[in-house]
Amino acid sequence: MTASAVLPSHHGAPSTSIGNGVSDRLRKKASRHVKERIIEALLFSAAAFSVFVTVAIVYVLVKESWVFFQTVPLSDFLFDTQWTPLFDDAHYGIMVLLSGTLTSSGVALLVAIPLGTIIAIYLSEFAGFKLREIAKPFLELLGGVPTIVYGYFALTFLTPILQKIYPDLPGFNLLSAGLVMGIMIIPYVASLSEDAMRAVPMALREGSYAMGATRLQTALWVVTPAATSGIASAYILGISRAVGETMILAVAAGMQPNLTFNPTEPGATITSYIVQVALGDLPHGSIGYQTIFAAGLTLLLMTLAFNLLGYWLRKRFREVY
């Protein structure tokens, strides 16, 4: 007994007994129904594909890392202070690569976050319409330069300049690579932050100006706090780019595993190590080769952690307007 069969309409009569059945114009059309289902299936498969790819990547990383961790205990991986998988006396301390990644990313973010934020504030709150329309494409072009070009820029242009200021600086160093990486990330931070600021309703700005605020006060005290969640997303994207960047570091930072947080030294990062091994002549299946999966998994977990942090920050500091 279905509910609709017994429920009377307003008039007290069962619904099917009203009128002379269903007219052809009002009847449900089979063709429309089928088309809808096909479109829905296409949309679903597109969405499912991206989920599938993500799951597949994680599966491969975990499976291959598992092989690695059969030989190397997790405690060695986490706490050893040497990374020498290619030597006879092999050590697998990820800390060494992690320090290179964190140091170069730190330098990059020290450049990208302040500059990117200032550029965003300028473009969103101070620049005129015309200037913004010209400046933004140029800024985004900066993000489109191939990273290998940035790498050689660091190695052959920036490092010699830095060596004039600081003569002891080695030819390969994390500082130069980090600075150039920061320049590369500026457009991401600036562009996304600017989008977030421009999305702040005009009514809030007017409210601020109407209280006698200056442009700078409005930008710093009203617009930026209101755009916090978007700006946080921009920062997180910048961090992910920095942590995942490969070519600049492979070219300019030296690829020598080095447990240091001193940017004036050469160093290898997780990513540059992976390139080195993937392009090298280590046989597949050897424990040396398996290291790159463990390193890759570490990288994935790091970016995942940053994304979760970003998600939490957005929820925590979301300013409601």
Partner: protein, 267 residues
């Protein structure tokens, strides 16, 4: 800039606070205000009525130079003289920020900042460089009392302004405008986003506020203009059709166009 002589209202016992004199204003090529003149009397409520697009909000936003924020807007002739300074607010040498310090504004839709209730009210003081905690506390409290909001929020000043109800948010915006002791407060259809009960409380508040400040209010609700204002101006297509004492304008309008509008024959 040569200032033309203003319209004489000829009302006994009032002091002129500001005087709009043959003001012309353009949005780009669109002539939005055409030789508009009207007086603003001190410690009185003056309302601007008229159909949508008649220029009433445009005129209101001239008073605090809001039009300066957007390119293409142009004050094209005449001006608004503020007393006792006897200065044209729209003169290029006048600093809009100084104007906004003295002529505050409440908007159509409540627009509290994404800050706490306290910081919302303190904003107009911080903008002026006030840093003393005790002084800020006192001014915030008296502004919230002035906006009839203190009793409802005194124990939750740290909460976000956006958590308040619509009517409370609008009173918060009034407190924000009041905090810096302005001489004039501009209200741009302040109750159009509110329910009837919240509207009644805002109207009551506006009538109380004229003890402290001069009020200029745009409304498309003629009953509201009749209830709260001492003077009313009727505008149509960018022109000032009629200005007068509210009771007289509603009971015995001088112009046929005004009568047609207030009797609901059009608009």
């Amino acid at each position: 800039m040569q200032i033309p002589v203003g319209l004489e209202a000829g009302v006994e016992g009032t002091v002129l606070k500001a005087d709009v004199r043959e003001l012309d204003f353009y949005y780009g090529a669109f002539h939005a205000l055409k030789r508009v003149s009207m007086p603003i009397h001190d410690h009185m409520v003056t309302s601007l009525i008229g159909p949508s697009g008649c220029g009433k909000s445009t005129l209101l936003r001239c008073f605090n130079r809001m039009h300066d924020l957007y390119p293409g807007n142009r004050y094209a002739g005449g001006g608004i003289v503020l007393y006792p300074d006897n200065t044209n607010l729209l003169a290029p040498e006048v600093d809009p920020i100084e104007v906004r310090m003295r002529i505050s504004m409440v908007f159509q839709k409540p627009n509290p900042f994404p800050k706490s209730i306290y910081e919302n009210v303190a904003y107009s003081l911080r903008v002026r460089g006030m840093r003393n905690k005790n002084e800020l506390d006192d001014r915030v409290e008296s502004a919230l009392k002035g906006a009839a909001l203190w009793n409802e929020v005194s124990n939750r000043l740290k909460e976000l302004g956006a958590n308040l109800s619509g009517g409370q948010q609008q009173r918060l915006c009034i407190a924000r405008a009041l905090a810096s002791d302005p001489e004039i407060i501009l209200f741009d259809e302040p109750t159009s986003a509110l329910d009837p009960i919240a509207t009644a409380s805002i109207e009551e508040l506006i009538i109380e506020l004229k003890e402290k400040v001069t009020i200029l209010i745009v409304t498309h609700n003629m009953q509201q203009a009749a209830r709260i204002s001492d003077f009313t101006a009727y505008m149509y297509l960018g022109e000032m059709v009629e200005f007068g004492v509210t009771d007289q304008l509603f009971i015995k309008p001088q112009k046929k166009a005004t009568e047609d509008y207030i009797t609901g024959r059009f608009g």
